[in-house]
Amino acid sequence: MAKLDSKIPSGPLADKWRKHKTEIKLVNPANKRKYEIIVVGAGLAGASAAATLAELGYKVKSFVFHDSPRRAHSIAAQGGINAAKNYQNDGDSVYRLFYDTIKGGDYRAREANVHRLAEVSVNIIDQCVAQGVPFAREYGGLLANRSFGGAQVSRTFYARGQTGQQLLLGAYSALSRMVGQGAVELFTNEEMTDLVVVNGQAKGIITRNLVTGELRRWAADAVILATGGYGNVFNLSTYARGSNVTAIWRAYKRGACFGNPCYTQIHPTCIPVTGDYQSKLTLMSESLRNDGRIWVPKRKEDCRKDPASIAEEDRDYYLERMYPSFGNLAPRDIASRAAKRVCDEGRGIGETGLGVYLDFSDAINRLGEPAVRERYGNLFDIYHEITNENAYKTPMRIYPAVHYTMGGLWVDYNLMSNVPGLFVLGEANFSDHGANRLGASALMQGLADGYFVVPYTIGDYLAGQKPGSRPSPDAPEFKEAEANVRAMTQRLLSAKGTQPVSHFHKRLGQIMWNYCGMARTKEGLQKALQELPKLREEFWASVKVPGSADTLNQALENAGRVADFIELGELMCLDALTREESCGGHFREEYQYPDGECKRDDEKFGHVAAWEFQGVGQPPLRNVEPLNYEFVKMSVRNYK
């Protein structure tokens, strides 16, 4: 069994981080340049970490599978970034941001980590403004804020609907500065394909150059993975097509524990699927629910009719009916599950029957079209671009979609996994969001980890490593890892099948969505756990990967990623099956209150499940890190 020591510092909650910073070991400036750090991924977490570590004097190598660090999917985040600045004078504080995040996560995150996140949130905004991030401003020139779900204060900073883009470009500019100065060596089109563990410590990686196909070995004193989330296990999601689990999955297979893999967030307002060719789901901002009313026809036979022809009394405004106090602004997980329920009843609309109406006609009658246009014009434009429908005239069609994974590799308070020397940041780790993430908190966590946490905590590990002690990339562990990757590539290319990779990805997505999606049951998860091993075997028997290994081969890249997703799917279902409670994004039909709220079981499941790999097809070990709530009382989450 892996040893899981969370290393949470003792003492009062508000003093833990400050105290920890003064107690952890330091590396002196002259020694920093003797350490090499590998950073995989250059989204918010990876780029901010690489830039900051280089500024401190470490030798940094940054690896991205994209053709440029600026392509990382952090760029697509729309809404904003939370920070406890209290610039609005509305009673915000570090404690309130901490509390909202803990409660939003349904009491399944670590108190100490979340408090630290809230503390450094204020530094993030300072840093980003200094970099020139063009946040929205008031007429007096000071920073503007907007409100977001799960909070009663206005603490979200934003740059139009492109906050993620602007924050990423800020981190990218900091990284570019360090690359320009020679302090960071940047490797683009270079995908991590294995982790190298020497004497139980992470000491390097194997990469495949996606343009030349060359496999390369890289040794370092520490390895940082900041490679994002794994929602593409569902095939259809709001993730970029390239987002994948491969880096953290291969680290898992080298001994890093995977924390809470089943915690997935499903966003209620996305543009629905239109056909089996579909590759991508696009988010429509949740803010639309402020003025839009959600409904489906009361009768199945009306579902294919023109919505305008359905009389008012034949419409079911189901959120308003089921949740009269919150109505259309019910929390994300509730709204998503309700949409699924009415569609399962056969009352879904649109071509596939998987959609509900988001109707603005009342708002247009009440406020006039110009006012609606002013509030939501850009969103109506995006909707029109994708669907060719005019949402001022006919209701929008929406449906929930996967858009974030709270689970990830297990890390301690220092963001180090159970494999010493392996650090995991941002969405790739499991640490700060518990079972559900609040809006505008993903950007905050990515930048907190990269700018303000790992630059301190990595020193504590490195101070214990003798300078110059890193192994040679010719060590047997490196050769073995490279041979492992080469063998997998060969196995994929020599599979004698007929089906393209997409065929298996779609089937995987269907299994995951049906059985491990918005609502899960024991029977369904057991069924998935029968189907997934069969899919895995079928994949290897009948996949067709054209082309060769020594060139740009997108089918080959994809095949390796989908092979990992199929294995991950099994782990997610096993985690979901074992967690016999409902919490946040993990909803088991068997465990709910009469009103449909999650029924947690703090006694049996008030812990983190950290899974340990035992071999493909072998049941993994389930390690447990108890969540000891010292400062907040675990209670029933209630937003009514």
Binding site: E55, K85, P134, G140, A159, S176, G180
Partner: protein
Amino acid sequence: MVAEASNKTISVTLRVWRQAGPNQPGRFVDYTAKDLNTNMSFLELLDVINDDITRGGGEPIAFAHDCREGICGTCSLVIDGKPHGPHRGVASCQTYVRSFEDGAVITVEPFRARPFPVVKDLVTDRAAFDKIQQSGGYISVRTGAAPDANAIAVPKEDAELAMDAAACIGCGACVAACKNASAMLFVAAKVSHLGLVPQGQPERDKRVLAMVNTADALGFGSCTNQYECSAACPKLISHDFIARLNRDYIGATFRTAFTPASANTGGGA
């Protein structure tokens, strides 16, 4: 309206540029796709064709893509001679099959510009843009050294204009659209974004000189004011920023030539 739009299917022929590698000859190859739902995106059309090619034993078409929602800047197709296709203000991934007639023959090529060599088929190497950024597209601020975010007020108008420029997604359509393969709109967007906020002032001259000179050295051409760049820009970034860039560049050239610089710059703590 819903039913009418989505039940329609069409068939099209794609005339696609195929090129095995950077120094290999390329040629157009035709692929016909039938019974396409017109709500399909253009990249999904390529997915469908690629799956057909794979099942038939061929090698699929390489094309660059990632977010498929118009923000990452990865997709980079020239569709019927236009970077990012027929519509203004969208990226290739936001182009839909409904924009084409039944039976259409659609030409699909990579971005063509000397500083963006073809890697394979429709994929080009745009690392030159990263090099321009690395030469000066930043504000030098160490992590942790920043003052309080509200310590400096930024006029709303300036912040909004900076945001207009900062919306650039770094796709390179401006270069592909320009007969001179000029990167002026790209450089202008970054220089204007940082030059419009107070934090960007200390390095303003240095930045504009470094970025323009680096772009020149990388083989991007000069601007001759045809404005094809802003017409092709998926974020509709205005060519007015190029005028701003030119002002900054000329000013910086004079200031650095005639202002005495401290001999001690760069030394010390």
